[in-house]
Symmetry: C2
Subunit: 191 residues, 2 copies
């Protein structure tokens, strides 16, 4: 299972056996049940997540309504905003499925970065890459209609439709569940 983490890391830096052992000895792997809340609004967490198996999502609670803003699945890394800016979290994080996660604390990361400077390089590369990806995703969202966003999602992340409740996907697309149902019906009647 931890091989997934090492596969991911190998995209950015090469690891020696010694370094791999150092990571394993940190004992960062966690099994988490579906529905578990990993972070609540207002909390000040230092934990970052890497998804080995399963799916977690971030959502806001606005006027009593959940607004899902992201899904993280296998090989996705999530450093909550509150870890970066050291302020209480604006949003929630919870498990959509039973998950196996690698949970790393920012203090631990600082320690590992001290011991193995390679990791600092990885973090820089990773955050640059994530910024570039986030920019493109944002642009795509901004320049698309809900229907186009739905078709894009179907194209780029078809697995989400098999594992995530429709109302959470609707929220992610920026519309209501009823509108998603209707939109789907509209599309099938066209094709």
């Amino acid at each position: 299972m931890q091989d997934i983490l090492f596969d991911f890391i190998s995209k950015y830096i090469a690891l020696t056996e010694e370094e791999k052992n150092a990571i394993v000895s940190l004992d960062i792997f966690r099994s988490v049940k579906k529905g578990t809340t990993l972070l609540k609004k207002g909390q000040r967490s230092k934990d970052s997540y890497f998804v080995l198996k399963g799916c977690i999502r971030t959502f806001y609670l606005i006027d009593g309504e959940e607004k899902t803003t992201a899904f993280y699945t296998e090989m996705d890394a999530l450093t909550p905003h509150c870890v970066i800016n050291k302020a209480p979290s604006e949003y929630f994080i919870s498990c959509v499925e039973d998950c196996i996660l690698s949970v790393s604390n920012s203090d631990m990361e600082a320690e590992v970065n001290g011991k193995f400077p390679k990791f600092e390089i990885m973090c820089r590369k990773l955050s640059e890459e994530l910024l570039a990806k986030k920019q493109i995703d944002f642009d795509e969202f901004r320049t698309s209609s809900p229907e186009q966003r739905y078709l894009n999602l179907l194209q780029n992340r078809p697995d989400l439709f098999q594992r995530i409740p429709q109302h959470q996907i609707a929220s992610y697309l920026g519309i209501k569940p009823q509108s998603l149902s209707r939109l789907r019906a509209r599309i099938t009647n066209k094709g």
Copy 2:
């Protein structure tokens, strides 16, 4: 004028006079006329921009229509996606106003980073901070209606309405110019 750049840098790292001189000697300051296109779709540029004065925007050309996705004003830094992923640009960059820009090439940056390791730290901090900000902006956009987005923009960047054509702001809000006009009329008739 270059003091603006040094003020900006001082938020991340402290600079010696020697380092400041090294930057000035790079001769990176450029005056650019309103309407100038800095980057076209399909080009492979290595240039990053820092706005000292004026305003530049990024936009896509989709079905013959300009879709504006960002405005950069004083103290904003823009590293185009094509610089990061070394692929042809998907979008255009042009000047909304006469501008004074600091234009830095990624080769130059590598050189400066080599001479002054401090700069590498600044780049890491900056890209982490930008990622965090981008995430929050995206979440806000995702969870808002066009009307809320308009009100937020009015709150957070009121200057844009004084310096940018309405149809570009409409596009930025994800709607048509006519809808922005109507939306504004609707709001004034309410209040």
